[in-house]
């Protein structure tokens, strides 16, 4: 495989292992032993999560979802990071990490409830070691940090036992880097030398604000001032994201402490389906980034240089279509919430006064049903 590797490297401070043209490049610090079959599996991930995204946007247009936060353009970052996790590692997403959810085996439909307005997340973080989405910008970085404190107290770092040593991976955006919470999580993680990896998807925009509104220096540099390493990776290069995240997670598990990864990528779509980016950015910007598409480069590599079965692309396409159908049909029958969903999980032990309100609300809901039935 080494004959495919070229030594070109466009941006000196950005780790890249696969060029936009689909050429493997090597980086001394991030050797990546990966087979073509494994690359093909990543390709499948990339295509399928993009399809989930496409379907969700369509569902939103049809009024089936209230909102959707698209990951278009960020598939490489998310699949690279997500596939670097081991099952017992824990991941904390913000609200756009549908690709990471995919890598954690979270059913895409599970994600839709929040956007459809039938629940607020509603799943168990323990089932797939993937926390519920967090909407308050940056808050989850502290949760990840605290979780990592727990990991340390459980004696689950630095033992050398791969089934025991545990890392925590937390996602946030370029905008989030300005929040106090994110910086406090850097403080706590550095001071405690915690097994947490901060994965910042710098998609160049926080809604309408370019990253320059947040920082005048590359975001990965933030870490050094807190006393831990930061690295910028080509966020559209799934291989580089995989290699860089894997190393950071390894470091975390072996008690080397935190790492900040800045995945340099681009939000190709509006911030959410509510947004109108024509107000604040030029379409030409997206055109430029399209040339760096995270999927195209893997396809180019596979098509040109890998020994994969001839019907591979067609079979992924087929799988993608089936996934889309599944999402379309199943999402429409997502159960609407009832009184129980509103009251039963406010507390573990429901106070009497709330129980009375619950009854009142249930009565009201059934009175509506009765008048509907009339």
């Amino acid at each position: 495989m080494t004959e495919h590797v070229h030594a070109v490297h466009p941006e000196p401070d950005m780790i890249q292992l696969l060029t936009p043209e689909g050429q493997r490049v090597e980086h001394p610090d991030y050797p990546l032993a990966i087979t073509d079959d494994e690359i093909a599996a990543l390709y499948r991930d990339l295509v399928l999560v993009r399809r989930i995204d496409t379907e969700a946007i369509a569902l939103q247009r049809q009024g089936e979802l209230g909102l959707w936060a698209s990951l278009l353009g960020q598939e490489g970052a998310q699949i690279g990071a997500g596939r670097a996790l081991r099952p017992h590692d824990m991941a904390f997403p913000s609200y756009r990490e549908h690709g990471v959810a995919w890598c954690r085996d979270v059913d895409p439909l599970t994600l839709l409830g929040l956007f459809r307005g039938t629940n607020l997340g509603g799943f168990s973080p323990y089932e797939h070691n993937f926390n519920n989405y967090t909407i308050v910008i940056g808050a989850q970085t502290l949760h990840a940090t605290g979780y990592a404190m727990g990991v340390v107290r459980d004696g689950a770092v630095g033992t050398g036992d791969p089934d025991r040593d545990t890392a925590v991976l937390v996602f946030f955006g370029d905008g989030a880097s300005s929040q106090g919470d994110v910086n406090e999580s850097f403080v706590f993680s550095a001071a405690g030398n915690l097994p947490v990896v901060f994965f910042c998807q710098n998609n160049q925009w926080a809604i309408s604000e370019p990253v320059t509104t947040q920082s005048r220096v590359p975001l990965y540099q933030r870490a050094s001032g807190f006393g831990f390493p930061g690295v910028r990776v080509d966020g559209n290069d799934v291989l580089a994201c995989l290699a860089v995240t894997r190393k950071a997670l390894d470091d975390a598990r072996s008690a080397q402490g935190p790492t900040l990864i800045e995945a340099f990528t681009y939000r190709m779509n509006p911030h959410t389906t509510n947004d109108d980016p024509r107000r604040y950015r030029l379409a030409s910007e997206a055109e430029t980034w399209k040339l760096k598409d995270p999927i195209e480069r893997v396809r180019a590599y596979l098509a040109r240089e890998a020994a994969i079965s001839p019907d591979f692309f067609a079979s992924v396409e087929d799988e993608s279509r089936k996934l889309a159908e599944h999402i379309r049909s199943a999402s429409r029958v997502l159960p609407d919430p009832g009184a129980a969903d509103v009251f039963d999980n406010v507390h573990v032990t429901m106070p009497d006064e709330l129980r009375e309100q619950r009854e009142e609300f249930a009565d009201f809901l059934s009175s509506l049903e009765m008048s509907d039935a009339k």
Binding site: L120, G175, Q214, L354, Q357
Partner: protein, 323 residues
């Protein structure tokens, strides 16, 4: 004069305030080119420049904290909090600095800061985008808390809030931003006064912000059934214009308070407490409240049922009248 939506009326009000005083600045997330996620600041950066309409880094404590510094330097910052649920990272600066600086400095420093918060639900949004946190601020000495309920009032009130030398937390009912349009009144009502919006003799209905429309709807329905509800738009949650409420309650003998926030320890409790104290013998029934339940804001598919609505208001009105 043409009728304006509430969003546009606020936009015009902000424009007027900026024209009137060069020290007025707007600051917040996405308020520049985007014009804010609700377009309330649409076009203002273009017209007043990036120095006066500031897209800040994404940090609410930073927004409020720097506004405090700007106020010390003599500016009048108007901070936009993108959604109600995102005011909390800035809560410390609001409660411990904005509210207290004037007092700490024995009156030497003024804090003419307006904190605009699009608040409340009913727009099908996700978590943290539909909160009604007014009681937290009303319970904080040093802050004034108001809510506009219609476009004309929004236009005037935002200017009055900005002109006030005291800090004002300004709640904008986001679900009314693009609802009914209205012509602007020629004159403002004093900012901290309640106003009788619909006279009636059978019962007093007090509401503010988003709930005023709902209360008026309820009153219309009640009127069809022969019950005349007096509807009061509270406008200011703190200070409370209790005299106006009392005057009404002394006539009607009955009071129902409506707000979107969960009921327990909400603004309705204070109104009930004061009215029962000051009009004890006038009340023919206890003060009743129609509020959201004591739960986090629900998934949006249930918000219309969870929020106070005409049905629940009318039920409670019946309860009061039948007491």
């Amino acid at each position: 004069m043409t009728a304006l939506s509430m969003a546009k009326a606020l936009n015009e009000g902000l424009r007027k305030a900026m024209e009137a005083d060069p020290k007025v600045l707007l600051m917040g997330e996405d308020i520049g080119k985007l014009g804010g996620v609700f377009r309330v600041t649409d076009g203002l950066q273009k017209d007043f420049g990036e120095d006066r309409v500031i897209d800040t880094p994404l940090a609410e404590s930073g927004i409020i904290g720097t506004a405090v510094g700007l106020a010390i330097r003599g500016y009048r910052p108007v901070c936009e909090i993108q959604f109600d649920g995102f005011v909390f990272p800035g809560f410390d600066q609001i409660v411990s600095q904005v509210a207290k600086m004037h007092n700490r400095s024995a009156g030497q420093v003024k804090m003419p800061i307006t904190i605009r918060i699009p608040y409340g639900g009913g727009i099908g949004a996700v978590e943290h985008h539909s909160e009604s946190p007014e009681a937290y601020f009303a319970h904080t000495a040093g802050l004034k808390v108001v809510a506009c309920a219609d476009p004309s009032d929004a236009y005037w009130m935002i200017q009055q809030a900005i002109a006030d030398d005291d800090p004002v937390v300004f709640f904008e009912p986001k679900r009314r931003y693009h609802a009914a349009k209205q012509e602007l009144a020629d004159e403002p009502t004093p900012l901290y006064s309640a106003r009788v919006v619909r006279p009636g003799s059978d019962l007093t209905l007090v509401a503010y912000g988003s709930m005023l429309t709902t209360a008026l709807e309820a009153a219309s329905v009640a009127a069809e059934e022969g019950r005349e509800l007096e509807v009061i738009d509270l406008r200011s949650v703190s200070p409370l214009d209790i005299p106006t409420v009392l005057e009404s309650v002394r006539r009607t003998g009955r009071l129902v308070v409506v707000h979107e926030a969960p009921g327990s320890f909400g603004a309705g409790a204070e109104i009930a407490a004061r009215v029962q104290e000051q009009a004890f013998y006038s009340l023919e029934a206890p003060v009743l409240r129609v509020t959201a339940f004591d739960t986090p804001y629900p998934p949006s598919r249930l918000e219309n049922e969870w929020l106070p609505n005409v049905d629940r208001i009318l039920d409670t009105v019946d309860k009061s009248l039948e007491f």
